[in-house]
Amino acid sequence: MIEVTNASRWYGNVVAVNDMTFSLGAGVTGLLGPNGAGKSTMLHMIAGFLGPSAGTVTIDGRPTHGDPEVYRGIGMVPEREAVYAFLSARQFVAANARLQGVAEVEAATQRAIAAVELQDAQDRAIGTYSKGMRQRAKVAAALVHDPPVLLLDEPFNGMDPRQRLHMMALLRRMAADGRTILFSSHILEEVERLAERVLVIVAGRLAASGNFREIRRLMTDRPHTFTVRSSDDRRLAAALVAEPAVSGVALDDGLLTIRAADFGTFARIVPGVARRTAITLYELLPTDESLESVFSYLVAGGARR
Amino acid sequence: MPPDTMPPAPLEAGSSTPSSGAIYDLGYRRYDGPRLGRWHAISTLFWASLRAAFGMGRSGRAKIVPWGLAVFALIPALVAVAIIALIGEGISPFTYDNYLWQVQITFALFVAAQAPELVNSDMRHRVLALYFSHPLERLDYAAAKLGALVAALLLLALTPQLVLFAGNLLTSTDVVAGLRDQAGALPQIIGTSLLYAVTLSSIGIAIAAFTPRRAYATGAIIAFFLVTGAVSTILGEATRGSLSDWAPLIDPFALIDGTRDWLLGASIDESPVTGSSVPLPIFGGVLAAVVALAVAVIALRYQRVEA
């Protein structure tokens, strides 16, 4: 349905989107990438707010830019927080419904508001809402005309875990109805939980695409790093390095760092080693791996392939 | 912290001088040297604000407005010099007395456009706290900002008059005699410019300090100057009663001109001060009161504002 073919977008010397090609159908797709990667630009191109400098961006064969009629079939939830603060959620969603030419404005408004669970607060001015409630109001406004394509730019910003779960359930339901849903995020866990399919964007390029589990599996080839605190770091290190699952140990400034290629086996053997050597483990932490390093691995991995 | 030294490298066979190596700690170090203190902070802020008033250090688009206005204020002087050069003396439409009066709108616009630039950006982006965490008192900040705008307006006002001065000099037959003649005008040039600069800056910054957003501040400042000017003109045209006599006191530009007339002599036809029977020292008094009020308002505002 959404077809992006060799699309690029540049501003003078800065290339925001670099020769991307993909197509999307029904279901939930996540646009994943670090900040500044070009996710928003790509999303805005699909939404018709930007024209591609090269290539084409079409929905059902129609180019999205320059044609106000495409908006009958698109619902857009922008990232910027600002909304008409003086309107209540009901008025805001109803206004969007009217602008879309929806036939039964009241009914559609109530349906949309119920879908995002804003019924109780719908008559208060949006200016008084919390960040998460404002996001929900924006989603309701994007849903009110029942569009087959839904685009969301960082939709989970400012939502607490409960709201996030509810929003995810809503999006999954809509996808099951046959809608095409595309959302952007820089948080791995959100994309992991919601998207059936992922497009990973790094520096304007498509670094990886496809089923998320596949991509995750690719990343497990890379050794995991753990930090350990124990009653005797040095002896523990000596014992661990003898195990085949461990690829390296390092002792810096009193901090024991372990690299393990096979995460599963390592997790199994550590307690046994500790008991055998009579060392007490106080703490075992996987070190946070930055998203950027993961992605650069992905990019490098993609180049090698 | 003293540098860590490694033991000297082993001597090479045959060499007579010992070699040594050292590794230096490049970690974070405190600065324990002399610090320049409060006065330097004030002057730094002053110069930075003066540059900001002319859009220096920013993109070209930020320079259009201030420099455009500066050029606009300068053009009549250039034209006048050209006229003198081509046609001869005595035909110039501008004298040192009335030049600034004629181009007053450019000053009003400059203040309306740039006072918010100096004042409102800091407030909007909540940088005041950063400023006040340095040895810069709140009043120092206000003084530096106000001083910078005064200096900017001085530059704006002096340049065309000095161009006129130079033009008069260069087109006179005897430069030295011309210099002697024209030199008498220097107090007029400098004094008038100072009056305009101080008055307009203090009013502009006082208004800008109270408005939350830049666009509102610009609108409010220009509205103030336009409305006071219009009301003063209109009431001045009412021919009956003291209303028309006292009308010029509403207009800050008329106040400036009246004070200039009082202190430096020479009235000009275009100014409403000429037709008014109000004694000139009153203009001076009211002007002083207005400026004092504006400065007090600025001081109070910056003492109280939440950083």
Binding site: T41, G51, P68, V83 | A215, V227, A230, V231
Partner: protein
């Protein structure tokens, strides 16, 4: 014309603190007229009224009101990003521009013509032989012309307010005083021409410097050009993403 957009724009323009400034300006106009009356008036009321309505009403109040409302009609939404809710709809860009312009012009006319009418009646002690009516109706037309210009300006530059001030104060004010030719391209002069043509006031009270025909032609052309420019800029408008 789209009712929903009109409603939102009205609330946006008139629901803010800046409207207070505009109301105060109008009030000052009326107060000055009152002060004149209370001070006993003058020798020639009609002439003074014409001066008041020309110098304060048309030359100060009308452009300031139109500037604030005209640059705010679309400019405010572009600045805070809410324009996306209007643009992401199957509504033609010309309808959007026409609606917002109509709202801005109507609001500007209301905030200008009301005080002018009131002040004129007070100062002239009546309708002043057509003077007051002429100025009031002309102010409505002038508000429309200004609003169109400033709406187009707000789609061309982010600093529409300052450049609008340049136009009003430097072009229409300063330069028109020096060069008579610039008056042909001054909305202020067009409005004064309309005031004379509509009200037929006595010439010793008020005489516009521009004739009606050039005012209609140039003013009309300015209106059309402004609207066309605005529509074209809105069509080509691009909304960048935050993380672009």
């Amino acid at each position: 014309m789209n009712g929903t957009i009109a409603g939102i724009t009205f609330r946006q323009l008139l629901g803010r603190r800046r409207v207070l400034l505009l109301l105060v300006l109008g009030a000052v106009l009326v107060l000055v007229a009152l002060a004149y009356r209370l001070a006993g008036g003058g020798d020639d009321d009609l002439r003074w009224t014409a001066g008041l309505l020309e110098n304060f009403g048309i030359a100060t109040l009308m452009p300031l009101v139109a500037l604030v409302l005209g640059t705010g009609a679309i400019g405010a939404e572009i600045e805070d990003g809410t324009i996306v809710y209007i643009l992401a709809k199957p509504i033609s860009r010309s309808v959007i521009v026409a609606t917002k312009l109509a709202v801005a012009a109507l609001a500007a006319a209301a905030l200008t013509c009301g005080p002018i009418l009131l002040a004129g009646i007070i100062a002239a002690g009546g309708m002043g032989n057509g003077l007051v009516l002429g100025f009031t109706l002309a102010a409505a037309i002038g508000s429309l012309l200004y609003a169109a210009l400033f709406v187009a300006l707000s789609l061309v530059t982010g600093r529409a307010l300052v450049f609008g001030l340049f136009y009003v104060l430097l072009w229409e004010g300063f330069l028109s005083g020096l060069f008579a030719g610039t008056r042909t391209f001054s909305i202020r002069q067009h409005t004064l021409a309309f005031a004379e043509a509509i009200g037929h006031p006595p010439t010793d009270a008020f005489d516009a410097s521009l004739d009606l025909v050039p005012a209609v032609v140039i003013g009309g052309a300015l209106l059309v050009i402004s609207v066309v420019v605005a529509i074209r800029r809105l069509r080509a408008f691009e909304l960048r993403g935050e993380a672009a």
